[in-house]
């Protein structure tokens, strides 16, 4: 099973232009962001588009935010960044000191406050220049360090070209073990305090309609598979026609060119209109400050994926954007012991997902609403 899957992913990456993808993955920074209105194809120039002269001194910050496909030297960048930071700190600490002479703050607390203040004024992710993105990543990584979340790396990989993700769920194979739920929690740094879960596995009595999830049990606690029952999972379906995206008053959520619906956690105002608009209960809100035990933080993060969220904002499944854009499987698909979960590139005619769609009788939930989920169910 796993062999076959690996093969699929090789295929996936090859079809997506593996060399381009890899070289971009090595570069920490992505291409300049496409503006909201820009067509998906109008991405940044490929490798060598801007910097192939070899003589460019892109490392310096004086570069304009023009399309420079910089291969940032990571350690150097961090050092320089810290230097700038402490320079700024020296100035502001005097100002702060003047205001509150009896301040008992440590240097680290002060630094965190300064970073938070800078974070507060940043713009919507899609409108940020390359430079602004680099800056916010630097701040967020440092903040994570200051907050004891370890040495996290936040990537901003853009959607791979020629990729549209799709998912299929084999109802005959799922046995309700919920390894996927567990893997999702750890992969995506989900809040342990409120036990947030993106995936729900429903247990249904054989013969019961699949459509009626309202009366299905998603909280079973007994040994599975239970006799006379079947199981099916739901999560965000990354609809092609997503009502949640339409309703957001500030465009804090949108669909990426590879079909993944993402949330800019720092732009979200927390009105929860998207939650009311989603027919599948796919979105989660941080009703209190989310927390992950320090040792359990997954440090491989994506800006639009599993990086730290804060209280009062909405989050959701992103098909593990931090994994899938590296050509890996989502955590749920990788962890499934029964092979019930099939994930892949819908645009690749040789992918598993295409095989399922072409050879199985498939259906989607609440198709009558016209949301066009990219998540199909099928049976053997």
């Amino acid at each position: 099973m796993s062999d076959r899957r690996d093969l699929t992913f090789e295929d996936l990456v090859r079809n997506a232009g593996a060399s381009e993808a890899r070289s971009r993955l090595e570069a920490l920074t992505p291409d300049p962001g496409t503006l909201p209105g820009a067509p998906a194809g109008a991405q940044a120039p490929g490798p060598g588009g801007g910097c192939d002269s070899g003589s460019c001194g892109c490392g310096t910050n004086s570069q304009p935010p023009a399309p420079s496909n910089t291969l940032l030297d990571k350690p150097l960048d961090r050092r320089r960044a810290l230097g700038t930071l402490f320079g700024a700190l020296a100035v502001t600490s005097q100002a702060v000191g003047a205001c509150s002479p009896v301040s008992m703050e440590t240097d680290e607390e002060r630094e965190a406050k300064l970073l938070e203040r800078e974070e507060y004024f940043k713009g919507n992710y899609r409108l940020m220049t390359q430079e602004e993105r680099t800056e916010t990543i630097r701040r967020l990584e440092r903040l994570a360090e200051l907050r004891g979340q370890g040495d996290v790396r936040i990537r901003t990989d853009e959607a791979l070209q020629g990729v549209m993700y799709g998912y299929a769920f084999n109802i005959s194979k799922c046995k309700g073990f919920r390894n996927c739920v567990e893997a999702c929690i750890h992969e995506n740094n989900l809040d342990r305090g409120s036990n947030t879960q993106y995936i729900r596995i429903f247990e249904k009595v054989d013969g019961e309609s699949i459509n009626d999830l309202a009366h299905a049990d998603a909280t079973y606690g007994h040994e599975v598979p239970a006799e006379g029952h079947y199981y099916m999972g739901t999560q965000c379906f990354q609809c092609a026609n997503p009502p949640c995206v339409y309703v957001c008053p500030v465009q804090a959520t949108w669909q990426e060119p590879d079909g993944i619906v993402v949330v800019d956690y720092d732009w979200c105002i927390g009105c929860r209109y998207c939650m009311a608009a989603c027919p599948y209960w796919a979105r989660r809100f941080n009703w209190a400050e989310p927390s992950v035990p320090p040792g359990e933080v997954n440090p491989r993060q994506h800006y639009l994926g599993n990086r730290a969220r804060k209280k009062g904002v909405v989050e959701k499944c992103t098909f593990c954007i931090q994994r899938t854009r590296e050509g890996r499987l989502p955590a749920c698909a990788e962890s499934c012991p029964t092979g019930a979960r099939v994930f892949g590139n819908l645009l690749d005619p040789n992918s598993d997902i295409r095989w399922v769609l072409e050879h199985k009788q498939v259906f989607r939930l609440k198709e009558d609403l016209g949301t066009e989920p990219r998540f199909w169910y099928f049976m053997d």
Binding site: P243, P249, I269, G270, P279
Partner: protein, 352 residues
């Protein structure tokens, strides 16, 4: 210069009054402080303190917001005849109605702000420095129409009062165009608020064409009922006299609105229950309870009885003409609509 004195006198008249007035204002201040403390707790702990959850992600904040938008919209029922048709009866009442609209709107906006999980990011709504997803998002529409209506209803009375203060006669050609605009605007604020809910195919309880018209009917029922009570109080307790005819006309408006509301309610109940589908589960939960969950059932049934009773009383001419029956039915109607909209609208939409 005049403006400064105008504002100063306004402030002075707002803080002077008898003992009962001060008691009332003190009580309101106390409630506001209590609310501020509660909000402080919510800011610290997060919205979890409200008892909402991922399933029922909107609750009393949003439903009260919806109800108050209706109150604000109802002011138009006085504005329309007073300015446009030059109906003198309403002349004095209209400034009060606009005052009600302004306070209702302030509360609306406050309810929306306290419902935000990340209120410090609300500057993201400002076009220019942020992004307002207009015209795609109905919430963006609501931001526009509510703030616009607030501006209209603040500026028109301000102009009239200020002209009085400086001893000039208000120039009609200056403010009447805005009055016309506010009449259409009033309808729009409540329709847009209804569309905010009706535009969600995910929630069949809201996703029907009657929601907007029904919102208007309930608004003109509860809003004008409230105006009658308020004007009666002002007429009774202060030197500011309200014309008898104004009460008569307001009572008529309330009656017709209540009747129309009942027709629509009946139509909704028929569609939900004649042949109950899956989509009727929200209504079933509301009126009968679903699988043992029936917290809202007594409320909505009481509201239904109150609605029917008060509308019947108002429909009978002799009873409506009687001051005590009229005032009593107004109280009853206001309560009934508040339960209906404030409790029975938002939460069931999220169920099952």
């Amino acid at each position: 210069m005049h403006l400064k004195w105008f504002l100063l006198s306004a402030f002075r008249s707002a803080v002077t009054g008898g003992r009962r007035y001060h008691l009332w204002m003190g009580l309101l201040t106390l409630l506001m402080l209590l609310g501020a403390y509660g909000y402080g707790v919510q800011l610290r702990e997060g919205l979890s303190v409200t008892g909402m959850n991922d399933h029922t992600s909107w609750g009393l904040y949003i439903s009260n917001f919806t109800f108050l938008v209706g109150m604000a919209a109802a002011a138009v029922m006085l504005v329309l005849p007073a300015y446009v048709l030059e109906d003198v009866d309403f002349g004095k009442a209209v400034l009060i109605a606009e005052g009600v609209a302004v306070s209702a709107l302030s509360m609306c906006l406050a309810f929306v702000v306290v419902d935000l999980g990340n209120p410090f990011a609300s500057w993201h709504l400002t076009p220019g420095i942020g992004i307002l997803n207009f015209p795609r998002s109905m919430l963006a529409w609501d931001v526009v129409v509510l703030n616009g209506y607030l501006a209209l209803n603040s500026l028109i009375p301000f102009y009239i009062l200020y002209s009085h203060y400086t001893g000039q006669k208000p120039n009609k050609s200056r403010y009447v165009p805005f009055v016309y605009l506010s009449v259409f605007w009033a309808v729009s604020i409540h329709l847009v608020t209804a569309f905010l809910l009706a535009g969600l195919p995910a929630r069949p309880f809201w996703n029907h064409g009657l929601l907007g018209p029904r919102f208007l009917a309930t608004a003109f029922t509860a809003g004008t009922a409230f105006m009658i009570l308020l004007l009666w109080f002002i007429d009774n307790e202060t030197e500011y006299e309200i014309d008898r005819g104004a009460f008569k006309k307001l009572a008529m408006i309330t009656t017709v609105a209540a009747q129309v509301n009942l027709i629509m309610l009946g139509s909704e109940i028929f569609t939900e229950f004649y042949f109950p589908t899956h989509h009727a589960e929200s209504a079933r939960y509301l009126f009968f309870g679903l699988e043992g969950y029936d917290a809202l059932v007594p409320w909505i049934r009481v509201a239904l009885v109150l609605n029917l009773g008060a509308t019947a009383v108002l429909t009978l001419h002799p009873l409506r003409e009687n001051r005590y029956w009229l005032l009593g039915s107004c109280v009853v109607l206001f309560v009934a609509v508040w339960i209906d909209k404030g409790m029975g609208l938002v939460v069931p939409g999220f169920l099952p």
